[in-house]
């Protein structure tokens, strides 16, 4: 069997359909009108790896890139030079060619929140907010704060990208990783969640006694505060009231910026990449997310199916099993025969898994025939250095051009 036949078997065997539905990642990162790439997807599918790999590849192809990573694995962070946790982008040594460069940062959500408070409140008000126990809890552990701060940071980076730099712009492409939430939708929902918390009816109620005559409120209110006091403890409620009073003037700014970032995400200069592994759960998530993007009028570039199992040659799983059995059953099998029999079993498993994965991807393709897609084979080892990232980028691009 010739090499080219082995290859065509890989492509033919996969569900990659035709050029019209193939996601060409190089076309995206080479497009000067694309300024933001957002990598979304369910937990653990490869968002961080893909965003770092694409950012590196774009830098190698001449773009000035900033990648915003979120909770990268320790060794990956180290290889990007992300050892100082100072919440600002730092140049990645040895990355970039043809005038391109790569800056990387790791989101520190609490710090991002603190910085916003400091930047927008008077010093004494800022001090009051930062020391408030309710604020401390909200900024470090409220579900959704990480997503919200990722958006806030993206807004900041984008503003900086345009403003800074002696020879024009500091960055012309920002690649954004998203937090490891179980649902990709959380990224889009979180800002609204936090906004409605800070802007909500209850907060306004809590705030009101500090401002106006209490008689404006129904008798029910006293009962509520007293119930809350019992459940939360009086101190907690006072903390919340103090926080809300201090935060009130900041709130409008928060909402405005969140809206601006949302608009940025809807801009044609943004490209969303949905990452999924070829498993039913992850694909279902991808499906929801694709539908949501379209509802929110956000530009979907396509789907990356990551960690596909791709057998290296064509031999049906059952046939491989049969061959293994026959090798083992020989009257006097050689040591090599036994190892080869085991390798045939490894292959048989890969064939079975690949078959199942293809079915899962096919299901997605049937539901979303117009969504562009690229499939990335599993690497043998983890991706934790620049070479590994370059390899992932290379494979992504190669998979797009194979059709």
């Amino acid at each position: 069997m010739s090499r080219s036949r082995t290859r065509s078997r890989q492509v033919g065997g996969s569900t990659t359909a035709d050029a019209a539905t193939v996601l060409d990642v190089d076309a995206i990162i080479d497009d000067p009108t694309i300024e933001i790439v957002v990598c979304c997807g369910a937990g653990g599918v490869g968002k961080t790896t893909t965003s770092a790999a694409l950012a590196l590849r774009a830098a190698e192809r001449g773009r000035k890139v900033c990648v915003l990573t979120i909770d990268p694995a320790r060794r990956l962070a180290q290889s990007l030079g992300l050892t100082a946790l100072d919440n600002v982008p730092r140049p990645v040594a040895g990355a970039g060619a043809d005038g391109g460069s790569l800056d990387a940062m790791m989101l520190d959500m609490k710090r991002t929140f603190d910085e916003v408070v400091v930047a927008h409140a008077s010093p004494e008000k800022a001090a009051q907010i930062l020391g408030n126990p309710f604020y401390v809890a909200l900024s470090s552990s409220f579900a959704g704060t990480q997503e919200y701060m990722a958006m806030e940071k993206l807004g900041q980076l984008h503003a900086e990208a345009v403003a800074d730099g002696a020879d024009g712009r500091r960055w012309d492409l920002i690649v954004v990783d998203t937090p490891p939430s179980r649902s990709a939708l959380d990224f889009l929902d979180a800002p609204e969640r936090l906004s409605s918390l800070l802007d909500g009816r209850l907060i306004r109620l809590l705030l009101a006694p500090a401002r106006g005559p209490a008689r404006l409120f129904s008798a029910g209110f006293g009962m509520i505060t007293s119930a809350l006091n019992k459940v939360l403890g009086a101190q907690v409620l006072t903390d919340v009231q103090t926080f809300v009073a201090a935060f009130d003037t900041l709130f409008g700014g928060f909402r405005q910026r969140a809206e601006a970032t949302f608009a940025l995400l809807q801009d044609q200069g943004t490209a969303f990449l949905v990452i999924a592994s070829p498993e039913p759960d992850a694909m279902r998530e991808a499906s929801y997310f694709v539908e949501r993007l379209s509802q929110d009028a956000m530009p979907l570039a396509g789907l990356v199916v990551n960690r596909m199992t791709v057998p290296a040659f064509a031999l049906d799983g059952d046939d491989a099993h049969g061959a293994a059995r026959r090798l083992r059953g020989r009257t006097r099998p050689t040591a090599d025969d036994l190892v080869v029999a085991s390798l045939l079993e490894v292959h048989a498993r890969a064939e079975r898994v690949a078959e199942r994965e293809r079915r899962v991807v096919k299901g997605f393709a049937a539901a979303h025939p117009r969504v562009r897609r690229v499939e990335l084979a599993s690497l043998a080892t983890d991706v934790h250095d620049l070479d590994g990232l370059a390899e992932v980028g290379e494979r992504l691009a190669a998979a797009s051009s194979r059709v």
Binding site: M1, S2, R3, R5, T6, G43, G44, A73, R74, F134, A137, L138, S141, F142, A143, R182, L197, G200, R201, L202, L205, G220, M223, I224, A227, L228, K230, V231, L232, G233, Q235, V236, V240, P311, A312, F313, A314, L315, A323, R326, L327, R330, T334, A335, D336, D337, L338, V339, V340, A341, L343, L344, E345, V346, H347, R349, A350, A380, T381, D382
Partner: protein, 323 residues
């Protein structure tokens, strides 16, 4: 039964198999004749999905029966738990309704820090301690499908914070009792992981945090382990290149005459990738043993997780000492 845990808390990095392992453990214990309550707290109806039953209400429902044991399931809902809690401590009938109207419940359970966790752990505590009229425990064991590693210590420890806030009164007494239960010898926190860098790292971090908070670590449960058909010697022959493409082709030719030389190369290529993956896993396995906690391994179920598979995993857990 002395030595056996009354509360099993199952945590792990997202997606490693917490819900699967929690359900399997509940079945494994039930197969030993115990009556078990399986709880979930993340509002995801994972138990209903695993047992293929309609979404669970805030009510204990039997989801499996064995010869002498049974598994009941409960999806703990923080809002319902809050109303229950108010009724219990303050007899807040009317105010409870008013609270709902103002969105206070939503506020308190999703927003006010820790309240949600206080309510969830409070309900678990109630279930663990509940006794029937004869004075026997209603459940021999409670298995909790808990929040992921990143939040577990805070979750289990939340009543320590409450105890710090509320100096006296019924809330304080409850908080203290819950902490006593969480720290008891009969509570174990199990960590589910895969043999991959990130989940292993999170497991190690969580074990440190749990130890620092004096919460008892039970087993490390390595999930979705792929068995390898290659033994160490065979793996070494592949990795070192001692097994040449020509030798592979020769063996193949003995049993499959239609395969060309590229099959031999392909087979070796796959072999190399397989061995590299196995070695990475062995490395992570070695890292895990440094934690000092007992380890149980569960195989990857190739055809997905069904009831039979859950019983199989449950049996392995109990045999491995998780009980």
């Amino acid at each position: 039964m002395a030595g056996e845990k009354r509360l099993h808390v199952v945590t792990g990095k997202g997606g490693t198999g917490k819900s699967t392992v929690a359900a399997a453990l509940a079945l494994g214990l039930a197969a030993q004749g115990r009556t078990v309550l399986l709880c979930e707290v993340e509002g995801r109806q994972g138990i209903a999905q695993l047992f293929d039953v309609p979404p669970l209400p805030y009510e204990e429902r039997q989801v499996a029966a064995t010869d002498d044991g049974a598994v009941y399931a409960l999806a703990i809902d923080a809002e319902e738990a809050l109303l229950e809690y108010l009724a219990m401590f303050y007899r807040l009938g009317r105010a409870g309704k008013a609270l709902d109207r103002f969105g206070v419940i939503d506020f308190a359970t999703t927003i006010a820090p820790g309240v949600r966790d206080v309510l969830l752990t409070g309900k678990v505590y109630e279930a663990v301690r509940r006794r029937d009229e004869a004075g026997a425990y209603t459940y021999d064991a409670v298995v909790l499908d808990a929040p992921p590693t990143g939040r577990i210590t805070r979750f289990l420890n939340v009543n320590e914070e409450v105890a710090g806030l509320a100096k006296v009164g019924p809330v304080r007494r409850q908080a203290d009792s819950i902490m006593t239960m969480m720290r008891s010898q009969r509570t174990a926190v199990h960590l589910v992981t895969l043999l991959e860098e990130m989940p292993v790292q999170e497991t190690m971090d969580a074990i440190n945090d749990l130890n620092a908070a004096t919460l008892g670590v039970g087993h490390v449960i390595v999930n979705q382990v792929l068995p390898s058909p290659l033994d160490d010697a065979a793996a070494e022959r592949v990795a070192s290149g001692a097994l040449t493409p020509a030798a592979v082709a020769k063996s193949l030719a003995r049993v499959e005459d239609e395969l060309g030389p590229s099959a031999a190369e392909g087979l070796l290529l796959e072999g190399h990738a397989h061995v590299a993956r196995q070695r990475l896993q062995s490395h992570q396995r070695a890292v895990l043993t440094e934690a000092g906690a007992p380890v149980v391994e569960l195989p990857h179920l190739e055809d997905g997780v069904d009831l039979g598979g859950l019983y199989d995993l449950g049996g392995r857990l109990v045999e491995g000492g998780v009980r």
